[in-house]
């Protein structure tokens, strides 16, 4: 998975001119459903969905979905943000009830009234949004709802042992089963929700964008486990926006668009990317990064970080971001990159070192001061760090700017909606109604809201932590254009991403971080993916982890 498959070979692309300014292109007739020869997958059909419909107020999230999953296969679900993938798996896992249509599980029509029922029937789910109980331990979370019991008492020791075993299988023997989930980093939480799925005697495991929060090496681990599972005849439904993962792990692909199955059971390895993308979007997308401007000479220094350190997280980091420049930080989860970003933003207090904006030192440990100095940060974890889930989209978009448009303390809702609408339009938010609660948006669309917040108003320096997490191929290209356009207007950008191609493709200059230190710095053009991966991994945390 070193070479991203989305970067289409030249013969696969359609001339760039096809793309209209707002990102939509001509839409042809949807390609016909494809049924491959039955011998591609040997297992028998375990799950069959026919004409499943699910509506929410004002949205038909599922509008007649067909899906067929066989034992021992990895069945990938593809679709744009808001296509209905998560809704579909919530129907399968009993979290939502379909309005109509049929779900057949092991040959029997079923309807799961709640997640417990689905789990009992052998369907385990890893949801896109983490659903752990923060104040319970790792083991308690893993076995939540099906604790091993004896005479009515939970067998805590047994449960901890089982959890330790599962965690070891997941390649994380270092996570203590009795630790509170709250204290784990987000990648650790993802491991725990995987452990939860593995703690069941499942015959089908559904994974909704599990790789979105995992680091590069963790994804390899995940794939190893998936192969183990499928070898035992367990079926896996796998959702991801990363085409190269689907090529590597998938057997068959079903494509959803606007709640409908537009293609079913395509062979995962041999279907051309262009086909998949056009079935997903109804248009052809060039997955390329915007051009870098030709040499911007001697722009003024915008952000200057000097010897910034934080005990146990990172040490002696010095960096500069010029106006109009995009600086990327590559590094593993745990290399201190997110902590660095949060410290620059004042959300954490540095032990030593200084942060200056346009030559003036920013008061340390104060987000307010950082925002006043012109910084904005899209944090790593959208649900816990960025969103007011019950509030309308527009209020989330303007959360950092609403005071600017207020007069005498009175907010200007009309203005806010107009501004938010513009952002939503630029980022292809769907559905495009800014008064909906953010809660009702799909994961990728929620992410757009988080990034969109800082496209408003006079942000001079954008700190982006995994800005494209969960964002689909088309919207991702759009987001890159938006970021580049901001830079062209003189905004500085500091970008953290687990996806090395993204850092290399979007940034002008790249810093590589390892174990809390900047180990390399070079213009993006002089680096390639393998070099960066080597730098990132050298003496990797894997071996260096405390015993």
């Amino acid at each position: 998975m070193t070479e991203p498959a989305e970067r289409p070979a030249a013969d696969e692309t359609v001339p760039a001119g096809v793309q209209s300014p707002n990102g939509t292109g001509p839409v042809g007739d949807p390609p016909p459903l494809v049924t491959p020869p039955a011998d591609t997958v040997p297992g028998e059909v375990v799950l069959r969905l026919t004409d499943v419909v699910k509506t929410f107020p004002g949205v038909r999230a599922l509008d007649g979905v067909q899906l067929e999953v066989r034992a021992g296969e990895v069945h990938c679900l593809l679709g744009q943000n808001g296509a209905g993938k998560s809704t579909l798996i919530k129907v399968l896992s009993g979290a939502h009830q379909p309005d109509s249509g049929q779900v057949e599980w092991l040959g029997e029509p079923v309807s799961f009234g709640n997640p417990q029922a689905a789990m009992k029937a052998g369907i385990a789910t890893i949801y896109q949004e983490l659903d752990l109980v923060e104040d319970l331990s790792v083991a308690e979370n893993a076995f939540l709802g099906h604790e091993p019991r004896q005479l009515g008492f939970v067998r805590r020791g047994y449960m901890a042992r089982q959890t330790r075993e599962i965690l070891a299988r997941l390649g994380h023997p270092e996570i203590p089963p009795r630790r509170m989930v709250r204290s784990l980093p987000s990648a650790g939480k993802q491991i725990v929700s995987m452990a939860r799925a593995l703690s069941h005697e499942a015959r089908l495991i559904i994974m909704d964008e599990p790789s979105a929060v995992l680091a590069h090496d963790e994804v390899g681990n995940l794939f190893r486990i998936i192969r183990e599972l499928t070898a035992q005849g367990i079926a896996v439904i796998y959702i991801s926006h990363r085409m190269e993962e689907i090529r590597e792990i998938g057997d068959r692909v079903t494509v959803l668009k606007d709640g409908r199955t537009t293609a079913a059971n395509l062979p995962a390895r041999s279907t051309p990317t262009r086909d998949l993308v056009s079935r997903m979007t109804g248009r052809t997308i060039e997955y390329v990064f915007p051009d870098r401007p030709a040499e911007t000479p001697a722009a003024e220094k915008l952000l200057e970080v000097r010897e910034l350190s934080r005990e146990g997280e990172f040490a002696d980091v010095s960096l500069t971001v010029h106006a109009g420049e995009i600086v990327g930080i590559a590094g593993l989860v745990g290399s201190g990159r997110s902590e660095l970003l949060e410290t620059i933003f004042g959300a954490r207090r540095a032990s030593t070192g200084t942060v200056s904006m346009a030559g003036r030192q920013v008061r340390p440990g104060s987000v307010g001061a950082a925002v006043r100095a012109g910084m904005g940060m899209a944090p790593e974890e959208r649900k816990s760090q960025a969103l007011l889930l019950g509030e309308p989209i527009y209020r989330n978009v303007t959360l950092a700017t609403f005071t600017r448009w207020a007069r005498l303390g009175f907010t200007d809702a009309g203005r806010e909606r107009a501004e938010a609408n513009e952002v939503a339009d630029r980022l292809e938010l769907r559905p495009l109604d800014v008064r909906r609660p953010v809660r009702t948006l799909s994961g990728g669309n929620q992410q757009k809201v988080v990034v969109g917040r800082w496209l408003l108003g006079g942000t001079k320096l954008l700190l982006l932590d995994e800005p494209t997490r969960g964002v689909d191929v088309g919207a991702r290209a759009e987001l890159y254009q938006v970021i580049r356009a901001l830079a062209a207007r003189g905004v500085g950008v500091l970008l953290v991403s687990s996806e090395v191609p993204e850092v290399l493709g979007l940034a002008d200059r790249v810093l590589v971080m390892r174990e809390g230190r900047v180990v390399h710095e070079a213009p993006a053009g002089e680096l390639d993916e393998d070099t960066v991966l080597d730098l990132v991994m050298a003496g990797s945390l894997m071996e260096g982890a405390p015993a």
Binding site: P57, R60, S111, G113, G390, E391, A400, D425, V434, P437
Partner: protein, 376 residues
């Protein structure tokens, strides 16, 4: 995308299982053109959470109607006299006025993610402090000023301990409950302090256009609270801080200062309530406003304020207060004991919370499921 059309659910489809349908149904088949360049696109299609709280408040009005019907059925003799009915409405509103003012402040605190157990104690302290002989010598203005300043200061202390001292709101305000009543007893020497100020006492005894001044004060505080919550940056910060403090912080909102101000606001409401209550009794004492914290919290919760913060409405809280006052009134006109009344109140609180969780959701789910089963 371009060709995407959103069709409203067909009339025969099962209602969406997890939310009641919005008040204004989506216009069928209205095409949504992306990038058509019309801001405010999608007008009227989503009534949103405002619609949700509107429905909830409608439910509360329904409860109120039921209570009135019970009143009519049990005492038809009284309800046949229109004059009595008018007077009774005013006495219910007067009964609701003091707790109502306290509840407005409480609603802000709870939406902001906190809780204030000390409101009753603050009312008592402010009442006692403003009726000492020394304070009364400054006249009505001096008394009002004292009550408000004392209450706001106590609120600020609460807020400071919680925001900057990192005490849990429950603990900090529980301690303040004990301390403030203690101080009130100390100041008053455990005596009832009679108010000799005719202006203050007149607040409770005077009407304007047949409506008691106390009711006007309640209306004013409710209106101000509504505007503050729904139309100002202060209100927006309150929702943000209570809904997701980390997100608020990372958006540049000063979360600590804001939570401190919320407790000060609650204090301010208590100061106003102290004057109203003093006026009603023509006196103040350390034991006044006993258990107001419970009444205010209960009213806010019945009104739909989420105890975990981030959601709530002023109108809902007001309806909650009025429902409680109506129950009290119902028992009074039927000559029933206050013990029975408290039991009913407790039952209503439980029922309200159950309804909040249950709503129509489970019912529609149940129906949808049965339908599925029967078709299988």
């Amino acid at each position: 995308m371009t060709e995407r059309t959103e069709t409203a659910a067909p009339a025969g489809a099962a209602p969406p299982a997890d939310r009641p349908s919005p008040v204004s149904p989506a216009p069928a088949g209205a095409p949504v053109h992306k990038g058509a360049g019309t801001p405010g696109n999608g007008t009227g299609r989503w009534s949103g959470d405002a619609g949700e709280s509107f429905r909830r408040n409608l439910g509360l009005v329904g409860v109120l109607v039921v209570l009135i019907v019970i009143g009519i059925v049990t005492r038809p003799d009284l309800y046949s006299d229109m004059n009595w009915v008018g007077d009774n409405i005013m006495s219910i509103l007067t009964l609701a006025s003091v707790v109502g003012v306290v509840t407005v402040g409480m609603t802000f605190v709870i939406i902001g993610g906190g809780i204030d157990l000390s409101v009753g104690a603050i009312v008592a302290l402010a009442g006692v402090w403003s009726t000492t002989v020394a304070t009364q010598s400054y006249g009505a203005g001096g008394m009002i000023f004292t009550a408000v300043v004392v209450a706001v200061c106590v609120g600020l202390v609460n807020g400071f301990l919680i925001s900057y001292g990192r005490l849990v709101p429950f603990i900090a305000t529980l301690a303040m409950l004990v301390a403030a009543r203690g101080l009130a007893a100390e100041i008053s020497d455990k005596q009832t302090q009679v108010s000799n100020n005719a202006t203050i006492n007149g607040i409770a005894s005077n009407d304007v256009l047949g409506i008691p001044v106390l009711v006007f004060i309640l209306a004013g505080v409710v209106a101000a609270g509504w505007v503050l919550l729904n139309r100002t940056t202060f209100g927006r910060r309150t929702v943000a801080v209570g809904g997701n403090p980390e997100a608020a912080r990372l958006a540049g909102i000063n979360v600590r200062r804001h939570s401190m101000l919320l407790y000060a606001l609650s204090g301010l409401c208590c100061g106003i309530a102290a004057i109203m209550l003093t006026a009603q009794a023509n006196s103040a004492q350390a034991a006044m406003a006993n258990l107001y914290e419970l009444d205010a919290i209960a009213a806010a919760i019945i009104g739909g304020t989420l105890l975990s913060g981030g959601r709530g409405t002023i109108v809902g809280s007001l309806l909650g207060v009025i429902i409680f006052a109506t129950i009290t009134n119902l028992f009074a006109i039927n000559g029933l004991s206050t013990e029975a009344q408290n039991m009913v109140k407790g039952g209503i609180i439980v029922a309200a919370v159950l309804v909040q969780q249950f709503r129509f959701k489970s019912l529609t789910q149940l129906l949808a499921r049965n339908k599925l089963r029967s078709t299988n």
